[in-house]
Amino acid sequence: MEAIQQLTLHRELPHQPDKPALTLQDVCVRYNGSGAEALSQISLRVEKGERIAIVGPNGAGKSTLFNLIVGSLRPTSGEVHLFGHQPSGHICIGYVPQRSQIDWRFPVTVKELVMMGRVGKIGLLRWPRKRDWEMVQHCLERVNAAHLAHKQIGELSGGQQQRVFIARALAQEAEFLLLDEPLTGLDVPNQEAIFTILDSLRPDGVTVLVATHDLNLAAARFDQILLLNHRVIAYGAAATILTTPNLLAAYGGHIHLVHAGDETLVLADTCCEH
């Protein structure tokens, strides 16, 4: 029994308050079998509570970057730190996968899905307690999905699917939230609903990283934009980094800049593969 208990995850390390939410230092990732680097010399720093959009063409290394932050992948070289520790020292990293990666026919209800976020806190050999179910209910209310609690996940609309997965990250008490293409395929009201939820996380100081194809939303709704194409093309506020040279460097031939009067229209043809 003791041996099993040691496998539990209460190795969680305390956050170092003076450290930024995320730092990457000279991170390189090279996958076995291919010579090219998926990520090359990535250095960046994200402060607690910031909301960052990660933008780049398909295959730019966004998923690789997410896997590094989650801790499911170790860098070939360089260092990844969250709140001053390696990712494996945290159970506060919430990950909302792309909807296309989920088996929506899996036999779980919304309530059970959100409870999955509690599994780390509950610990091995224990069943969810009343407190955990109350937490689940509360998180569903926060994303305006309490009425969906007993539905099978496949019965949800796209926007609802996205929201209940965010509820799962809230149930995990995530302080660092990664969302992979949460806006893709959603209409404007559903996108707005997501932003309303993300706004409600601000007072708690939750740091949010969002991979997106939508440059307009990235520019309008995020504190910083990370332009990524295997390396950091640019990182900063939209006004300073969304320049023609940067976009051309990020998207290469896949982008068209159309000058219409005073405005620049950006057309990216790598968008929306779903």
Partner: protein, 276 residues
Amino acid sequence: MTWLLDPLQYTFIVRGLLAALIVGIVCPVIGSYIVLRGMSFLGDALAHAILPGIVAAYFLGWPLFLGALVAGVGTALAIGFVTEKGEIKEDTAIGVFFAGMFALGIAMLSTRRNYSVDLTHILFGNLLGVSPTDLLASAVLGVLVILVVLLFYKEFLVISFDPLLATTLRLPSRFFRYLLLILLAVTIVVALQTVGVALMLAMLVTPAAAAYQLTHRLHWMMLVASAIGGFSGVAGVYLSYYINIASGPAVVLVATGIFILTFLFAPRRGLLWRYQ
């Protein structure tokens, strides 16, 4: 009623019935994970790959499940190792080891004089030859498998549904992956005498697949699958008694029939429901 009670005058049939019931209940619990994770091929492979372990244990007088466990887990580790270190895909690695281990088992078995009888029993089961000791061992191992699933139910759920969530929750994923393989190997041993290696996959997958059509929560899927499996086991033995066919295939055929019914008629998910 006499047709129900008639076969029960033979104790070997009663033991066969109980064995089929146990197998029918236990297999679909693990089978549900196999269906949901899409690891049917691995399940079939492990069912074959345990053969040399069983034969070796039989020769040495060890408990059969120990031999099966060593061979099953060893094969799973080898498949994992070759996939990780080499450049070949997992299903190819499974294919290589599955056939190789099975060949080793048959080669070992062929040194025996009553080779063909033993082989038939291992391939297709010997339900009516279940001894009281076999029955007891099946019951104990079956209860053990179900207890472990209950203990780690929420962890297995997370790892089956979303491995990346398991990573962020810092669950010991590798431990649970191997625990599931060990449970699978034990389940295979429990079912070996009932349906044999060749039809093992049916007991793991078919009732679970039928239940998948009928339920939308994992624990209900497991319960319904066990009910279907248990019924198939008992009905199969009766079928085998009355129309004089081999018992293992009879059990599997009943389960297959139930699957076809659910595939056609299941509310909302069934074929007819969707095209009405």
